[in-house]
């Protein structure tokens, strides 16, 4: 009622204004446009009628009952198809899932960095070019894959980052096989390759791709699902597979390094009363053989608390890596954590998101696993990152970061400026 009044008011005033100001030539061109619109509308309705008739014929053909079916159909007294229903059956056919149904999404980023670290060179570099693949194979079976292309001086390094086939029995039990990002802590399973997915330019050092602090990848099988827990919103995942290879940053894609399987178990809670909150804990165990005859037991415990909404976004994670030398029974514990806080500003179309992250890594001075290759793969770290993300569109973002960090004992602090444009396509 009110909207009609308003419409009439607007039309009347618009017409009056138009009549008062437009010349006869303009009126003529407006009239010709109106005529053209009417012609087009007529043409559309003709085409729609034709389409309805065709669909009705097709549906009638599809629904022609066989002699055996006829009595059953009469018993359910299904209405005869009419043109409106026939039109909607096209939409239903389109909406139904077809198998396999491959979806591909690409991620890429372009970066610029400049630091005052001795020997470093400022400049641009291409980030990872990543393809994510997802394809439901049936109502209960799905495939997921992730390929990365990383620029190297001599070309591109292609890696299969994840390849997973999963069978869903129900919400409480889903089993999968393949190569995963190890479900250890939060970041490693929340943000995969593709910098657009994460708020910041870089991952925290403790979960860095190519890093060794935690095993980023895991090859084997995994069971996961929800736990009946009411408002607590509990979920779990347990996995068994090949742990780290002799190169600690790599998973045993082509086979395990020893006869001992790695295992991982994690539990998380998403309480329904605090939508956005997630609490998690995880444990990972393996036997490492970084060099022949040099064996270590590894036990990693991790905990995380996150608030996934953007006002604010809060991510924090802690992990302790415990190594025991099986020859000497010496024990080594290394710890790492980060705290990240971000806030999506409510002004300027919600496009700006400033953030801050503090991260910390501590390792024993003589840790044989981290130093096995002769070069330290994990170093003490204290660092801060402050930056801002600007979402240019729903699918592309600019990020700018300033980092100040000290890596190693008694080393000077390094300052750096980093810029990135990250996007998905």
């Amino acid at each position: 009622m009110y909207s009609r009044l308003l419409l009439i008011f607007a039309l009347a005033s618009g017409t009056a204004l138009a009549q008062a100001t437009s010349s006869p030539a303009e009126q003529e061109s407006v009239q010709s446009l109106i005529d053209r619109i009417q012609q087009l509308e007529k043409r559309i309705s003709e085409l729609e009628d034709r389409q309805r008739k065709q669909d009705a014929v097709q549906t009638a053909n599809l629904q022609t009952p066989t002699p055996g079916q006829e009595s059953q159909d009469n018993a359910t007294s299904a209405p005869a198809p009419h043109s409106e229903h026939a039109a909607s059956s096209t939409a239903i056919r389109e909406a139904e899932m077809h198998y396999p149904s491959l979806q591909i999404r690409g991620f890429a980023d372009v970066d610029f960095s400049a630091t005052n670290q001795k020997g470093s060179v400022s400049g641009f570099n291409l980030g990872q070019f990543v393809l994510h693949l997802a394809s439901p194979l049936s109502k209960k079976v799905g495939y997921f894959g992730e390929l990365s292309f990383t620029a190297r001086p001599a070309g591109y390094d292609v890696q299969v980052e994840r390849t997973i086939i999963r069978y869903d029995y129900n919400d409480y039990f889903k089993i999968s096989f393949g190569k995963y990002h190890t479900p250890l802590g939060y970041w490693n399973t929340a943000f995969h390759h593709g910098a657009w997915l994460q708020t910041t330019i870089s991952r925290p050092q403790m979960v860095q791709f190519g890093g060794t602090f935690i095993p980023v990848h895991f090859v084997g099988l995994q069971a996961e699902g929800n736990l009946p827990s009411g408002g607590l919103g509990l979920g779990y995942s347990v996995g068994l597979g090949n742990g780290r290879s002799s190169i600690l940053s790599r998973a045993g894609d082509s086979g395990d390094i020893n006869d001992n399987r790695a295992w991982v178990a994690s539990v998380f809670a998403r309480p329904t009363r605090f939508y956005g909150l997630q609490l998690g804990g995880s444990v990972y165990g393996d036997k490492l053989t970084p060099q022949p005859g040099n064996n270590f037991n590894e036990l990693i415990t991790a905990a995380d608390v996150v608030w996934t909404k953007e006002r604010p976004e809060f991510l924090s994670e802690f992990a302790n890596v415990h190594h025991r030398d099986l020859r000497t029974s010496q024990i080594f514990n290394s710890q790492a954590f980060y705290i990240q806080l971000a806030y999506r500003l409510p002004w300027l179309e919600n496009k700006w998101k400033p953030y801050y992250r503090f991260e910390y890594i501590h390792r024993p001075l003589n840790e044989p696993v981290w130093d096995v290759s002769g070069v330290s793969s994990v170093e003490d770290l204290v660092g801060s990152t402050v930056g801002v993300r600007y979402d240019i569109t729903n699918y592309a973002a600019f990020k700018g970061e300033y980092r100040n960090q000290r890596t190693g004992v008694d080393e000077p602090r390094v300052n750096g400026a980093f810029f990135q444009t990250a996007f998905t396509f």
Binding site: F9, E96, R105, A134, P136, F191, L197, T272
Partner: protein, 164 residues
């Protein structure tokens, strides 16, 4: 200021006030419309808490029962039903919603994103045709005989109904 000018300025002010009143009345009228949660007739639910509806639409609950997967239907952008879902259920902006589902699928947590429907008629058609389907439909457009789910024990138009 002449008498005619005074009259014209008063008429202009009165007209503006009238327009403002009309607009607020329209906004209030539109805001009062409830959005019904409609499911396929064979879906074994008739009452969900708002938290459970959220869990379903976030893709955290993906099966009604072992053999009936959830099929999410959501209106295309700009529709009022979509705005209600984003505001009350997801508590996200349009871009956050898009980002959420891209991340969800490529974390391997869900095989598909919600299917987009372009009208309440289409939502009505699909929700009755696709087993496991769930949709949000303007309560005035729900077809007679459709299975409307109670949310926190309340149906649309009942006092305390939250999806509006």
């Amino acid at each position: 200021m002449t008498g005619n000018q005074k009259f014209a300025s008063r008429a202009l002010i009165t007209g503006c006030l009238l327009l403002c009143l009309l607009q607020s009345a329209i906004a209030q009228n539109a805001g009062d419309v409830d959005v019904a949660v409609v499911v396929h007739p064979d879906t074994p639910v008739s009452n969900l808490t708002l938290a459970e509806v959220r869990k379903v639409f976030l893709g955290d609950r993906q099966y009604w029962s072992t053999n009936i997967p959830v099929v999410l239907l959501i209106r295309a952008p700009v529709a009022r039903e979509r705005n209600v879902v984003l505001k009350v259920i997801y508590q996200m902006s349009e871009s956050q919603f898009k980002q959420y589902w891209i991340a969800k699928i490529f974390r391997a947590e869900s095989a598909t994103a919600p299917k987009v429907v372009y009208s309440n008629d289409m939502a009505n058609e699909l929700v009755t045709a696709i087993p496991g389907a769930i949709a949000f439909i303007d309560a005035r457009d729900v077809r007679p005989g459709s299975k409307v789910v109670r949310v926190d024990g309340r149906l649309p138009k009942e006092p305390g109904y939250q999806l509006r």
